[in-house]
């Protein structure tokens, strides 16, 4: 009986309709957009282009939001602020390395990427590799590594989402997982890329509102910025330096993040595919500006919440629990629900884009290229492609969903390699393929296989090289392999050069 008041305090959120209601309103909105997209889909003349790339119709606002939402995932909302809680302002410095991500991905792949993609009617990243390198091995290796890394990454995102849901609403992990996963799978399956991009745009806005509200609440409760900074200094002066406690954030370490989360991001397939999905060059210009503002705001805001949170709730041992704890402490229940939608949105928007691209890879890159090349060309076969695409999306989603209930060790293990592994596989084949005439299939294949293999090796056996994250040596090895093998073998065919350089 003694603990009764405490228990009540723990339980006020438990299925509290004030927390859960905004969440369900939000989920309802997501379903509405999926039905809208499905109606567009049913009227379209080119099913594959509409379902997998939204007929390249994204305007600037949607493009910016979907790019940012895809890019910010569970780690930006839970893991990152959790580390900022322990490391202080130095970890925000690290997070701000991501500021150029929007202008770099859109700018470096650039308009050339968009023009070439239209010439060859590309729908997936592997479509580009297929036309550029004309090699079965490159496309199959690219497709398989994309599928393996995506599935592992999606499972990890589902787990993160369900845990967060559990932590804030008090509903069980499995309930959270079911509500959450069923929503993502349904809207992605029925709405395709258009639904993914539209829901991403809403999710981006939700993330902004949530971040703003939480940060404001924290600064108010902490008695202003000066007070909070003074409190942090009292806890540990290292929290307000760029180096963190015990000089954890060493310079080689933080500098290697310029490769991992800034330049290397150009090679992530699910962000790259957005770089040819926009409507016109004006959309791209607007998205560069808007995307930069939104990425900067979210990264700064979320990590600042985590770092300042140390002054509000100083005694947590597990950093990951700081965000749910702050939400409950700082925000009124209605706002808590809106905020909870923020990280869930971040997670859903990463999963949906990986899910639709995984499905596109299976249908377009593997099935239509190699298993049944004739399908879809004849009029009477198109409805088979429709059904196949829907089912592929749904089945990949269900596999990931099932794996999240009791995640196999193998998947958890592979996820450690997913982010860097995708960069090792795709960064050079995309960038050099666009800008270097000498790039050929032998170079691409050597770079992709050698890059992925050396990344696995380095992560497992070396961990850090001279204080740097091993993505740095990995991308160097992949680059050198690409150059050596391309120079040693024949140049690409004239036809390839015409498509990628000619009029």
């Amino acid at each position: 009986m003694r603990s009764q008041p405490e228990m009540e305090r723990e339980e006020w959120t438990m299925t509290d309709y004030r927390v859960v209601a905004p969440l369900f309103i939000y989920l309802a909105l997501v379903y509405l957009m999926a039905f809208y997209s499905n109606r567009v889909l049913s009227r379209t003349g080119n099913f594959l282009e509409e379902y997998f790339i939204g007929s390249r119709g994204m305007g600037g606002f949607v493009l910016a939001m979907t790019l940012v939402a895809t890019y910010t995932s569970a780690s930006s909302f839970v893991g990152g602020p959790g580390v900022a809680y322990k490391m202080g302002l130095g970890w925000i410095l690290l997070a701000m390395i991501q500021l150029p991500a929007a202008w770099l991905t859109l700018g470096v792949l650039g308009k050339k990427f968009a023009i070439v993609a239209r010439r060859i009617n590309a729908v997936t990243i592997n479509d580009i590799l297929h036309e550029r390198y004309r090699s079965r091995a490159v496309v199959i290796f690219g497709s398989l590594s994309l599928l393996v890394f995506f599935i592992a990454a999606m499972v990890a995102q589902f787990i993160g989402g369900a845990r967060l849901f559990e932590g804030v609403t008090g509903l069980s992990y499995n309930t959270g997982l079911i509500i959450f996963a069923v929503t993502v799978i349904i809207y992605t399956t029925i709405g395709g890329f258009r639904a993914v991009a539209l829901t991403d745009a809403v999710q981006g806005c939700v993330m902004m509102v949530g971040t703003f509200a939480l940060l404001l609440g924290i600064i108010k409760i902490g008695g202003g910025v000066s007070n909070i900074v003074t409190d942090l200094k009292a806890i540990d002066p290292a929290l307000v330096t760029p180096f963190g406690p015990k000089d954890f954030i060493s310079r080689p370490f933080i500098l290697s993040f310029w490769i991992l989360v800034c330049f290397g991001v150009i090679g992530l397939p699910h962000t790259a595919v957005r770089c040819f999905g926009y409507r016109d060059s004006r959309s791209m210009h607007m998205a560069i500006v808007l995307g930069t503002v939104v990425v900067g705001f979210l990264m700064l805001g979320m990590h600042l919440c985590g770092a300042f949170g140390r002054a509000i709730i100083p005694d947590l041992t597990v950093g990951d629990r700081i965000m749910p704890a702050l939400i409950l402490k700082v925000l009124p229940p209605y706002m808590a629900g809106v905020f909870l939608a923020g990280p869930l949105a971040a997670i859903m928007s990463t999963i949906d884009s990986q899910l639709i691209l995984a499905s596109a890879t299976i249908v377009k890159d593997l099935y239509l290229n190699y298993i049944n090349p004739g399908a879809g060309k004849k009029g009477n076969e198109t409805s088979r492609i429709h059904r196949l695409s829907f089912w592929t999306t749904a089945i990949v989603g269900i596999i990931v969903f099932a794996a999240s209930f009791n995640p196999p060790d193998l998947i958890v293990w592979i996820n450690l390699f997913a982010f860097g592994g995708m960069q090792a596989a795709f960064l050079w084949p995309l960038v050099l393929g666009l800008y270097w005439k000498g790039a050929n299939a032998a170079g691409a294949l050597a770079s992709m296989t050698g890059g992925v293999a050396s990344y696995f090796y380095l992560v497992i056996y070396v961990k850090r090289l001279w204080g740097m994250h091993v993505i740095v040596p990995t991308l160097l090895i992949a680059l050198v392999l690409f150059l050596i093998f391309s120079i040693a073998t024949e140049e690409p065919e004239d036809d390839v050069i015409r498509i990628f350089w000619g009029e």
Partner: protein, 103 residues
């Protein structure tokens, strides 16, 4: 065997503009890196007792993370307004796969 000489291949003029714009974004990223590095480590390496403060934040943090964010958002805007060109992205009509007709 070198089969394609520069003179024979007519380059799409849009690609020249696109290449230049890609270069601008890289330059902007390097400028941001310089700003980020110099403000953070230039001001943040001194002992904590000697820190100065702007708006309650340590100066190194305010300049690198907050001012850097604002300044480079504005620079990104100026870049697309003054250096980027509008261009059609579509393939020319009648050219099914973007290849030359006499192929």
């Amino acid at each position: 065997m070198m089969r394609i000489r520069k003179g024979i291949l007519l380059q799409d003029p849009r690609f020249a503009i696109a290449n230049r714009e890609a270069l601008y974004t890289l330059v902007l990223a390097f400028l941001y890196f310089a700003w980020w590095y110099l403000t953070a480590y230039g001001l943040g390496s001194s002992p904590v007792e000697e820190y100065s403060y702007i708006a309650g934040f340590p100066s190194w943090f305010f300049l690198s993370c907050i001012a850097g964010f604002i300044v480079f958002s504005i620079l990104a805007l100026l870049m697309v307004v003054f250096l980027f060109r509008d261009m059609p992205l579509e393939k020319p009509a009648g050219d099914g796969k973007g290849r030359m007709d006499h192929d």
